[in-house]
């Protein structure tokens, strides 16, 4: 098995992060891998917002917890210091698939660098709310973007576990 296949098969979601910021070099490599994900007709419908800023990360945490129906001090991002938000342009028919592939590439890129990552949902709801609209406004982002998901990133706190067994009948081969 080559290193790529091994990475794809042993990657695991991280649910306990160290608070330390990852290196810019690591972050940039992960972001770059995201931008090279395939997109429908090569239209590159997604954008990525990388949040390192502590105050904004805290606002995002609260908004995500609120949507989730959790208490105000709950952290849906498991303490990760970096949150990557992927959004995609709803005017492109393949936007949800496109944005998902960007997230998938970033999860796998993080794994290849030994950095913990996990997909966190509720980005859709965040950008339907005033919170998200204001965030886009502040960045000068116009257009019809839907939140696809977050990739929380950071160094892993604790031991890595193995993947759960795959379900029966995941694959059907017709010879």
């Amino acid at each position: 098995m080559n290193d790529i296949l091994k990475t794809l098969e042993t990657r695991r979601s991280c649910r306990k992060f160290l608070p330390d910021m990852i290196k810019d070099k690591e972050l940039n490599a992960i972001l770059e891998a995201g931008t090279y994900a395939p997109t429908g007709m090569g239209k590159q419908s997604p954008i990525i917002i990388a949040i390192k800023n502590k105050e904004l990360r805290e606002e995002l945490r609260k908004e995500n917890a609120r949507i989730m129906g959790m208490k105000d001090d709950f952290d849906p991002f498991y303490g990760a210091p970096v949150i990557l938000i992927v959004l995609a342009d709803k005017n492109v028919g393949t936007y949800i698939y496109d944005g998902s592939l960007v997230l998938g590439n970033m999860l796998n890129a993080a794994e290849s660098l030994g950095i913990g990552s996990i997909w966190i949902h509720r980005a859709k709801e965040e950008f339907e709310s005033e919170f998200g609209k204001k965030l886009l406004d502040n960045l000068g982002i116009n257009g019809d973007y839907e939140g696809i998901g977050h990739c929380a990133l950071g160094y892993i706190d604790g031991e890595r576990k193995e993947a759960a067994p795959r379900k029966e009948n995941y694959v059907y081969i017709i010879d």
Copy 2:
């Protein structure tokens, strides 16, 4: 840059395939990488149908071309000998994202083995039609599955091109 990052960034969609069947070992490695994609709450909502059978591939080609509004002899799969169809269980909230990640892992796994691949759409429409329902019936697959996409696979015919430049303002970093 490690080999994984390189694979993620240099993978390209293949639009010209040789007709030769890929090796079982290669196909199985690609399928396995797909099954290890992350899924919402680890629910493994997708399934993968791998079509090697020539007659069924031909029926699928016709159905896909029909949905596309193309002539009866058009091949939306660019001559690829293997078509992987990913579907996902609509009862799981994250099913579209889950299925997309399965496809993403398979595209990257193929690339790591030097095998050409491309995401082809219209799986959703295929499985809303009688064609798709009958296919699932014949395989004994029950449940509420939506077609997410196809990964066409085969050996590459011709030279590889480089990826198009990435758009400006793909990434916003908030320090």
